[in-house]
Amino acid sequence: MNAPALSGAVAPLLDVERLTIAAVGPDGRPRPVLTDVGLRLLPGEAIGIVGESGCGKSTLGLALLGYLRPGLTRVAGHVRFAGQDLFAPDAPLEQMRGRQIAFVPQNAAAALTPGMTIGQQLDEALRLHTGAERASRRETALALLADLQLTDPAVIVGRYPHELSGGQQQRCVLGLALAGDPRVLVLDEPTTALDAATQAGVLEALRRTGERRGIAMVYISHNFGVVARNCDRVAVMYAGELVETGATPRLLRSPAHPYTRGLLASLPSIRRPGLPAAMPGTPPAPGVAGLGCRFAPRCPHAAPECARHPELSQAGPGASVRCHFPDPPAAAAAARDGRDRRPGEALLEVAGLGFTYGQGGYLGRLLGRPTARRTLDDLSFTLRAGETLGVVGESGSGKSTLLRLLLGLQRPEIGSARLADEDLTLPLARRPLELRRQIQIVFQNPGGTLNPRQTIADIIESPLRLYFPALAAQARRRRAIELLDQVRLGAHHLARYPEQLSGGEKQRVAIARALAAEPRLILCDEVTSALDVSVQAAILQLLDRVQAETGAALILVSHDIAVVRAVADRVVVLHEGRICEAGAAVEVFGSPSHPYTATLLANSFDPEAPAPEDPLPFVPNLAPLLPLTGADP
């Protein structure tokens, strides 16, 4: 947090002025994607751009480099870098991109060429940007990686991208972006794909590098945690407009715009249990917003005045807000309900479960190869009907393997697992239909969970047809509508295809499909990690309510400890395949007894924590450098 004082004395490095960008639809009518955006970035400053998907964050980020995605046109406004208009026809963009302004795309791992070592790729970037001698290029590359706090840069430069963990890949991509020694770095969702501890490490490395080299940073994220850690100022975007800007600590502590309040309230808290408040609705599609306040349809405080479009107005020093009623109403504090559930009979009993990937085989043992480390080791827990078990851990901790064992996709090496009277160590092929019915899963990725060529009706009726063959076609349709109703979708969704649904709606359909089987145990594999926080809150509420209605037991696997805290009655913390802490959620989170749990808690974002001048403590990741072949299967 190294920004110079927010004064007019310093000339801005990047100056966005009344920028309006539109997509031209098939009917030739321009639909504004960005409207009248104004933003200034001072040298060395770090700002965050926050909002839900579809609010124009990425479009703005690319526009900072003078780039528009195909189909978009600049209608009005300017982007100036040190006085140079980036949209001027003669702008020397080739000289500027990479050397003055660099961009790190969303899926950074895909930005690495799989067939070249990290060293070769860095060398190429350095040659292109600096034209230095080979030996000095190598030195620069090593220094860059060391700056980004990669342990052992000399080893890393010799490796190929697939030999690195997600966090290491991310740092290498950042190294590539820094190779041209830019003055501004634009990061699009820089850590979204990483788990909490890795995320904290990468952000810390970024912050330090930015400070040391005096680079101005623009963080684009839907996650306030990223922004809170590293940014001096935050700009909140909604439907292509800035709705609130201000210094990070003030904005987090007393948000003025109801949208900002809603986003913050939908973050699950690591401080106390209970569900976060969800914001109703979704952002409007480009060009659909009405003439009035664009947030009014979702705003809990909408009043007749909101039919008039509010201007962005001053709200204290260096802060502005686009709302007719910017004072936070007292009642807006989101209520979080405590949970009161009476658990039933023991349903799932797991004892001494162990599993190893790639067991080396007979030949391996003959040749005396070392046996692989257990992916899961000595796992025991009991889950009662109506209870929610949260399983927390980083990637590679064995969370997914546990689910695969329970589903029968893998057979445990040792140990037992029983669902009531049924043996769960049976492989999938030998499980009776009735047992399969009782265990249902909801997957992580909303994009892949539904068959793109089936209608929602087909998708929900498949399990009904399979498990309840006695249902006639009409009764089946009625049941499907009931299920859609249960996940807060309507009968009009029946004829739609998945591509016509949003990510949150797809997850709702996936939950309805699981519920169709009337299961006793529902497995949720990171079901909200691909969703915006506002949608995540709604899905968590849905899961909680559905569980109360059906009395099913729930296993919720997540790397986000706050998500688990929000819904779980009991928690299992997994680290490298072993349970390092288990117990009632209140106890585990209230007074963690294992240092790893404490690490996870410390690396989680907490909007209520006093963050301003003292940066969040960074606790190093306990996991050592990933072994070459030890990636999470």
Partner: protein, 299 residues
């Protein structure tokens, strides 16, 4: 729960179910010159084959007194060595060809598609072994087998159609298998597998809709190869039998008189070329319109 749980919004996404998608594919197909030309040529040939018995100027078998007549007002494309009208014979000459190869293409798509999907789903040893057998067949030019079969059962469509269908279904099988492996590990397939759905449900409801485009385009391509191969058989006298007129047979008959009556060979040749080129254009443009032109299984 104190907070009202938001229902997912209703007023989004303009509905465009399959009918709309099909229209969009057709529009993209017609946006390409190759799509327009291909579709026009193929439709022209199919229409001509269906209507030719009603509109031909002469009986195809009727022999006249004037052999080797050059094109004239009476015989637009001249006459052949027996004085038969070349135009009439060319118009009728695709009926048997199209009928046999269309049936065989249907058989190839059905069996190749189904077997490919099942192998792709099964994976493992069965997949490996079956694929080696397929490779062995693909390693030998299928025309050799087809020649042998056609020679043994001369002119019998009951044998020729399944034989063509089998051999030209092999590439379809490879394509279907490759496409299936692309979606096999999708979560929705895993979900269906975990539910315990039958093999038929997996094949028909989960996989088929996702690979049908690829199979269809490959099937259209195989159809054009079949037309060439079947015409070759007819040229050798092993395909369509006289007196039914056929392009391959016409070329074979006329090739001895190329210097005297080039039109008698040129007309069926031109017709055959335009049909095959049209089908190739069409399948190529269809693939691009469906967005799958990049998919091509190893041969």
């Amino acid at each position: 729960m104190v907070t009202a749980e938001p229902g997912a919004d209703a007023a989004d996404s303009a509905s465009h179910p399959p009918a709309g998608q099909r229209r969009a594919v057709l529009a993209r197909l017609l946006a390409r010159p190759s799509g327009r030309i291909g579709l026009a040529l193929v439709l022209f040939h199919i229409a001509l084959a269906m209507l030719s018995p009603l509109i031909v100027p002469y009986d195809a078998a009727a022999q006249g007194l004037d052999a080797f007549d050059a094109p004239s007002a009476a015989h637009w494309l001249g006459t052949d060595q027996l004085g038969r009208d070349v135009l009439s014979r060319t118009m009728l000459g695709s009926r048997e060809l199209l009928s046999v190869t269309a049936q065989a293409a249907g058989a190839a798509i059905l069996w190749g598609g189904a077997a490919g999907i099942l192998l792709g789903l099964a994976g493992g040893l069965i997949d490996d072994l079956a694929l080696r057998v397929v490779d062995a067949f693909l390693g030998i030019p299928s025309l050799l087998f087809l020649l042998l079969i056609a020679f043994a059962f001369r002119g019998s469509t009951e044998i020729v159609v399944p034989a063509f269908g089998f051999f030209y279904g092999l590439p379809v099988l490879r394509i279907a298998r490759a496409a299936t492996r692309g979606v096999r590990d999708a979560d929705y397939v895993t979900a269906a597998r975990l539910r315990g759905e039958s093999a038929f449900h997996m094949l028909w409801a989960e996989i088929r809709p996702n690979v049908a485009d690829v199979i269809l385009v490959e099937g259209a391509m195989e159809w054009s190869w079949m037309i060439l191969a079947f015409s070759s058989l007819s040229f050798l006298g092993l395909g369509v039998q006289p007196p039914t007129p056929d392009w391959g047979q016409m070329v074979a008959d006329a090739r001895g008189y190329l210097t005297i009556a080039p039109w008698a060979a040129a007309a069926p040749c031109a017709a055959l070329v335009s049909l095959v080129v049209g089908l190739n254009f069409l399948s190529d443009a269809l693939g691009k319109a469906l967005g799958i032109d990049a998919i091509r299984a190893p041969r």
